[in-house]
């Protein structure tokens, strides 16, 4: 918020507001916001915890602010990355020129768990594999953004972006009147149009899209239902769909109805028990056959996960140069691959200063934050790395930017990251805003909601 001693102009109006409002009024507002969230039912489940399975993500009223100038550069960078990731996916399921050119090791792609041989040679409509790309970013300086990771499968959190805004507008209409903040509420409509734009060629008339969810017990179920509702499409589970002949249908009160586009929010391995896990009850038997013969579009495409693998991540800047002939606008965080002997040596020697992640992990589970861990934890983690080096990567701890956040003592700086959402259909669009996650514990760098992080509204101010 501060630029040296000066308040950054983008935050000036906010600071006026905080200073002119009594602490009691502020904490009352905070309670109001929480009550609103709980009433609306925005909760998430935390795996591996007993008790209350529906918890609220803590919401911080102090928004994070970007100027339009800052945002424009970030937007170019995110779109560039989303295009390159899709080009990469098309390539590795076709001629694989990037591995032939020796830019990415073939093993890393073709022996990757997320690589899906079943979709080799298939041409998805518009050549798009990952239709919703969530890029996790951190900022380390005024012009300096680093990409932490890419999410090409089913990035979640967009419902928080929308609901955070909704609640801010309900509670602080004056702030919105006084400031020109780019709206985010057209996101569901753009997503609906993105999905419709990739309907298979065999679709005549209006395409029917559905959102395929694992069901009400999934931790992101609220988001699934919220998005389906906002888009006006059916929220289906595997049992609602069936394959007959060359097409997929849903069971309705008026009999079977053909489905053209499936926005799936479950993992590849659950999509079709005939093709993947035979014991899974979540998927649709025969779906992959229909997909292969062009009877249905699946967003994101099966196999898209190979692009957001943490070991593939290292090569994204190279992808951008290779496919787009451009210099990457957003930087990668320096990453050491534990599979590589010299990298591994460095990692093990400097473990206490590094952040180590599982290559296939997500959600902040199973990671090591060296500077915040005890000697015993570091030693135990070292053993894990030695046991299966290829499963780990390491990164330096960055001097993350902070954002003013309400804590018990008042406003205090807390570390934040940002996940903006990029839609890729026949056009590429970045929503002006995103999900800002904040580490509520002082000094903490882990922002994952499953690890005690909170969320904030993200404002892009018009110039």
């Amino acid at each position: 918020m501060y630029d040296g001693k000066r308040v950054r102009p983008a935050y000036a109006k906010l600071l006026d507001w905080v200073e002119s409002t009594s602490p009691e009024a502020l904490s009352q507002k905070q309670r109001q916001a929480e009550a609103l969230f709980r009433r609306i039912g925005i909760t998430f489940a935390v795996y591996g915890e007993g008790g209350d399975t529906e918890r609220l993500i803590p919401f911080d009223m102090m928004p994070r602010v970007f100027t339009e100038y800052e945002w424009r550069r970030l937007e170019r960078g995110v779109k560039q990355r989303a295009r390159a990731l899709n080009a990469f996916l098309y390539d590795v399921y076709h001629r694989a020129e990037i591995t032939r050119a020796g830019i990415i090791p073939a093993d890393l792609v073709f022996r990757n768990e997320a690589y899906e041989p079943a979709v080799v040679g298939i041409d998805p409509p518009a050549g798009v594999y990952s239709h919703i790309v969530g890029i996790d970013l951190v900022r380390t300086g005024p012009e300096e953004f680093f990409v932490l990771e890419d999410n090409c499968r089913t990035p979640s959190g967009v419902s928080y972006m929308l609901e955070n805004r909704e609640i801010m507008m309900r509670m602080f209409p004056d702030l919105f009147r006084a400031t020109r903040i780019a709206p985010v509420d057209d996101y569901p409509d753009r997503l609906r149009r993105t999905l419709a734009s990739v309907a298979p060629a065999s679709c005549e008339g209006q395409p029917v899209s559905v959102l395929l969810s694992p069901g009400a017990f999934n931790s992101a179920y609220y988001e699934h239902s919220f998005l389906a509702d906002q888009m006006g499409i059916e929220l289906v589970e595997g049992q609602d769909l069936f394959v007959q002949g060359d097409f997929v249908y849903m069971r309705t009160t008026e009999g079977p109805k053909r489905v053209h586009v499936i926005y799936r929010r479950l993992d590849d391995s659950f999509l079709d028990p005939l093709c993947f896990r035979p014991e899974s009850m979540l998927g649709v038997p025969g779906l992959m056959n229909v997909y292969r013969s062009g009877g249905v579009a699946i967003a994101s495409a099966p196999g898209a996960g190979v692009a957001d693998d943490k070991a593939v991540y290292i090569y994204v800047p190279e992808m951008i140069r290779f496919y787009l002939g451009e210099e990457p606008i957003l930087k990668n965080v320096q990453t050491w691959k534990c599979a590589d002997p010299s990298d591994r040596k460095f990692v093990l020697e400097n473990l206490a200063d590094l952040v180590v992640k599982e290559v296939h992990g997500s959600g902040g589970y199973g990671m090591l934050v060296g500077p915040k861990s005890t000697k015993e934890q570091v030693a135990a983690y070292a053993e894990r790395i030695k046991g299966d080096p290829a499963a780990f990567i390491a990164q330096p701890t960055l001097a993350l930017s902070t954002c003013p956040t309400f804590v018990d003592e008042g406003l205090a700086p807390r570390h934040v990251d940002l996940r903006p959402f990029c839609l890729v259909g026949r056009e590429v669009h970045l929503c002006p805003g995103g999900l800002t996650r904040v580490a509520l514990k002082e000094g903490s760098l882990v922002v994952n909601s499953s690890q005690g992080g909170g969320v904030k509204d993200t404002w892009v101010l018009a110039d």
Binding site: Y221, E234, D240, R251
Partner: protein
């Protein structure tokens, strides 16, 4: 709409209505327990309530032969082992609602989720503070809130029809069962008919159905099994009468047939049943035997529910 969605809406409404019925039953028991001569000479009214709730076996397995007020309260309100307890009903209703969150309006979800959150609060309080009349009032209020939210905000589309099918099939079933308790279970000897206990029981039943004043207004005060049977079975103006429930079920089936352009087995059954009930006189009902008549109605109602499931809820056609 998705068959699963229709199914969830149907059961959501059924469970909300059933929760209300459980509260009404508890109210009957509570009021009868206040009667000066209660517990002397005839069967314990708490026992009859449990049997009217259709869960005598489950209760017996857990609490044994004796029917104590506190156990019955626990069983019918708080017990998760009883799938029809108020708590089970509301939790199941919410679970159904959560599974089809997109088919509910925010107001409906608010009402449903609000009930669920209140319930957790009620459970946390010591039982000595949870007074039965308040619990019953609370439950009825949740039903009213949810119905009001539905009427006020839900699109009048097929989803609305499935909700109403759930409500009115369940309500018809419940009225029949409650009436049967009074008539068949509570008063085993004919010499008590017309006595003060008899009258007290009738008024309690009417109160439990929120129909006490309505009955006075329509029939002028004097209680007789014949009048009350007419009111609760054949009077189309009574919102809980069997005729009204069946009529409403038929109305919503009809709307579905128009919207979808096809009829199902449920339509034929509902039409036949409605025809019979419309033509019936109270003498016919009494002549058949009220208990026999009510049993037949409950079975027919269940078959109608199955027809609705076959026709719409499984998505096979």
């Amino acid at each position: 709409m998705l068959s699963r969605t229709a199914e969830n809406l149907f059961w959501l409404a059924r469970y909300m209505e059933r929760a209300e019925t459980m509260a009404r039953l508890l109210e009957v028991g509570y009021r009868m327990g206040l009667m000066p001569s209660a517990g002397t000479g005839y069967r314990n009214e708490w026992a009859s309530l449990v049997s009217a709730a259709g869960s005598a076996r489950g209760f017996g397995a857990k609490f044994g032969e004796e029917f104590h007020q506190r156990d019955v309260e626990t069983w019918l309100f708080f017990d998760r082992e009883n799938p029809s307890s108020v708590i089970s009903c509301i939790e199941t209703a919410r679970q159904n609602g959560r599974a089809v969150r997109t088919a509910l309006t925010t107001e409906m979800w608010d009402a449903l989720n609000g009930a669920y959150l209140d319930l957790r609060e009620i459970e946390r309080r010591p039982r000595s503070e949870a007074l039965l009349p308040e619990l019953c009032e609370w439950t009825k209020r949740q039903g009213a809130l949810f119905r009001g939210a539905t009427e006020g905000t839900h699109l009048q589309n097929d989803g609305y029809d499935f909700l109403n099918l759930g409500w009115y099939l369940e309500r018809g079933d419940n009225t029949a069962r409650l009436l049967d308790v009074k008539y068949y279970v509570l008063l085993p000897t004919t010499d008590m008919v017309g006595g003060s206990i008899d009258t007290y029981q009738w008024t309690t039943l009417l109160r439990a159905l929120s129909a006490y004043r309505a009955f006075h207004w329509a029939y002028g005060g004097e209680y007789s099994p014949r009048k009350i049977a007419h009111f609760l079975i054949l009077n189309p103006a009574c919102p809980r009468s069997l005729l009204h429930c069946l009529d409403t079920v038929e109305y919503h089936l009809d709307r579905l047939a128009k919207a979808y352009g096809s009829r199902t087995a449920a339509h034929d059954r509902a039409e036949a049943a409605l025809g019979e009930l419309t033509a019936a006189k109270v003498e016919d009902v009494i002549g058949e035997g009220l208990h026999e008549f009510l049993t037949r109605f409950v079975n027919q109602n269940a078959a109608l529910g199955q027809d609705v499931a076959d026709g719409y809820l499984f998505g096979i056609q």
